[in-house]
């Protein structure tokens, strides 16, 4: 691909965030990324723009100014109520050509990870997935993107020097959400969805909100996870009780527990499940095979509860509790309830 000249690169300004909307609401990952974009924009002496595509979202984008946005580009159309990859890609491409952002970042959600690779190819740009760190190279102003690879066993720093915009996705909960400043204001730019943006050949027939599949492990602060040591679905009920008593906790599982049919696949943490990076990970009766460890070893605090003190999980853990989890967990649940 032909590299941009320095003069061409200079035409591209501002740090963009692609907003994440679920059920008509702007998701926390958008606030986190707006905060991260603010830091980058200050270093580049430019602005933060957030692209908000959705349906019936009037009044919502204004809330982003408090988190550091200077401009919100709003595309509000009934055709954007479900996620149509091709439509959102066409809109993004049109906006990028029109406004020339220097950087575009988006949440590494199921939608972001489908949308951004398509946008990157269509605009001949580089894209770095699941970044855990974003910074600016003081020498030339390039975006430096840090990401884990090989299941977190290595960290790679990546740059896209020759093309603009520079694109990255970032997992939810990786960046800190800034304190909102209600006094901040910004500008709204309204953009239309064009008929040429819609692919009539794709149709979202129905959307289901399901507790069976809706396990937003990436969005949880705390994950309480169970493995073979939970002995069956009843054991997982205990973990669900525990999670309910702890604010912001979700239930995770090892592959062994999922494959035994004790809990649905959407809960699975690890190589063939989800990679999580929560503040706290409580592993209950999980031996800690490497395929599981690579999916959770970046969590801030790991607590393991197991009868066997010698499992790999008990070695990785910051706190290892040696004992019978069927006695320890109910006692903790009782104590928390009695507060």
């Amino acid at each position: 691909m032909i590299a941009f000249t320095d003069t061409e690169k200079k035409e591209y300004r501002n740090i963009w965030v692609v907003a994440e909307i679920l059920s008509g609401e702007i998701q926390p990952v958008t606030h986190e990324l707006t905060g991260a974009a603010r830091t980058l924009a200050d270093l580049r002496k430019s602005e933060v723009w957030v692209v908000v595509m959705g349906s019936g979202i009037e009044g919502k984008p204004e809330s982003l100014f408090a988190y550091g946005a200077d401009v919100a580009i709003v595309v509000d159309n009934l055709g954007l109520s479900g996620f149509v990859d091709e439509t959102e890609t066409k809109i993004m491409k049109r906006l990028i050509v029109k406004y020339k952002p220097e950087v575009v970042i988006c949440g590494a959600t199921t939608r972001g990870r489908a949308l951004m690779p398509r946008v990157a190819v269509m605009t001949n740009c580089g894209l770095t997935a699941d970044c855990t760190g974003l910074s600016i190279d003081p020498e030339n102003g390039d975006l430096l993107q840090t990401r884990p690879a090989f299941g977190g066993n290595i960290m790679a720093t990546i740059r896209c020097s020759n093309h603009r915009p520079q694109m990255a996705t970032v997992r939810p909960r990786v960046m800190k959400s800034p304190e909102p400043d209600p006094g901040r204001t910004g500008r709204i730019i309204k953009e239309e969805m064009l008929t040429s943006d819609t692919e009539k050949i794709k149709q979202i027939i129905d959307v289901f909100h399901s507790t069976e599949t809706a396990v937003n492990l990436a969005d949880a602060q705390i994950i309480i996870s169970g493995g073979r040591g939970m002995k069956g679905p009843v054991g997982f009920n205990l973990l669900k009780q525990f999670a309910e008593r702890v604010g912001g906790a979700a239930v995770g599982a090892s592959r062994a527990a999922v494959d035994s049919g004790w809990i649905p696949y959407a809960h699975q943490v690890g190589q063939t499940g989800q990679t999580v990076q929560t503040k706290v990970y409580i592993a209950c009766g999980i031996s800690g095979q490497i395929q599981h460890l690579v999916g959770m070893q970046s969590c801030d605090l790991i607590i393991a509860i197991d009868k066997n003190p010698d499992t790999p999980m008990m070695q990785v853990a910051d706190i290892a509790v040696v004992g019978d989890l069927f006695e320890i967990i109910p006692e903790i649940v009782r104590e928390i309830t009695n507060l």
């Binding site: 690779p117 699941d130 299941g151 960290m155 706190i319 903790i332």
Partner: protein
């Protein structure tokens, strides 16, 4: 129905280490496996082929050794396999890789459906599937949990997302990426194993697929890796809590309260 399944041979993650001197990933003597997510893609391709007849083709880009993974796909029922292998492909990022695969799919011709695993376990990017769709300008659907219906002109799929799932209908040709929920991969039969040993796997070079050499390999990749390093060490020691169940529960509670977790 003509289906292409894109697969990747990956190192078994647990062995991924960095050479402290060269700062490169040590690949010597490392076991290579078929990317676990791709086993579901292969199985889905074989199942759909069995339902509609036609053929399913496994496609991979990688070193000559990647033929092993293509043979694995043949052993479970894929009709034939093609390897994209050449020095010029080396160093391709997801943009360039998806370009090469898209060019190969064009060359295969008359393809109705491309199936990929959700992501590969080495890079973890999940970008190649949508990238192929973008290069071909085909429709795409990712995180597929089930193929509900399929005909020669359209497909209805169940797409997993954070808040549940949706049912999405799109016209073919299209690219889908699949998650583990979609099926249970079969074990190769004896007949399959024999077939996989005997089959010829053609190797395609950039010229064979009419690839623009400025769009492949390191030069064709917009992203550049500038540095790799081990992650910061986790912690220095594990705090062990032992004793009776009540003692354990109380000690753990104290730790949780200290950190304002409960």
């Amino acid at each position: 129905m003509k289906i292409v399944v894109c697969i990747k041979q990956v190192p078994a993650t647990n062995d991924a280490k960095i050479d402290p001197k060269t700062k490169r990933i040590v690949r010597k003597g490392i076991k290579a496996i078929l990317n676990p997510f791709d086993t579901y893609a292969v199985e889905e391709g074989v199942q759909l082929r069995d339902k509609f007849e036609g053929e399913v083709i496994a496609l991979s880009m990688g070193p000559p050794k990647a033929k092993e993974s293509l043979r694995e796909a043949i052993s479970v029922g894929v009709n034939r396999a093609i390897l994209l292998s050449d020095r010029a492909f080396g160093g391709s990022d997801t943009w360039a890789t998806s370009y090469v695969l898209a060019k190969a799919i064009e060359k295969i011709g008359d393809v109705n459906l491309v199936i990929c695993g959700k992501q590969a376990i080495d890079g973890d990017t999940a970008q190649v599937g949508p990238g192929i769709a973008a290069h071909l300008d085909w429709l795409q659907a990712t995180y597929i949990m089930a193929v509900e219906e399929i005909s020669s002109s359209s497909i209805i799929v169940k797409r997993m997302h954070e808040d549940g799932y949706d049912i999405c209908k799109m016209s073919l040709p299209a690219v889908i990426t699949v998650v583990k929920d979609i099926n249970t991969p079969r074990i190769p039969s004896l007949k399959g194993r024999l077939a996989s040993r005997k089959c010829e796997i053609p190797v395609w070079k950039p010229d064979d697929i009419g690839a623009d050499t400025s769009k492949i390999g390191l030069d064709g990749s917009p992203t550049k890796v500038v540095k790799i390093q081990p992650p910061p060490p986790r912690h220095t020691s594990t705090k062990k809590i032992e004793g009776s169940s009540t003692e354990c529960a109380q000690a753990l509670l104290r730790e949780l309260r200290l950190r304002s977790i409960v």
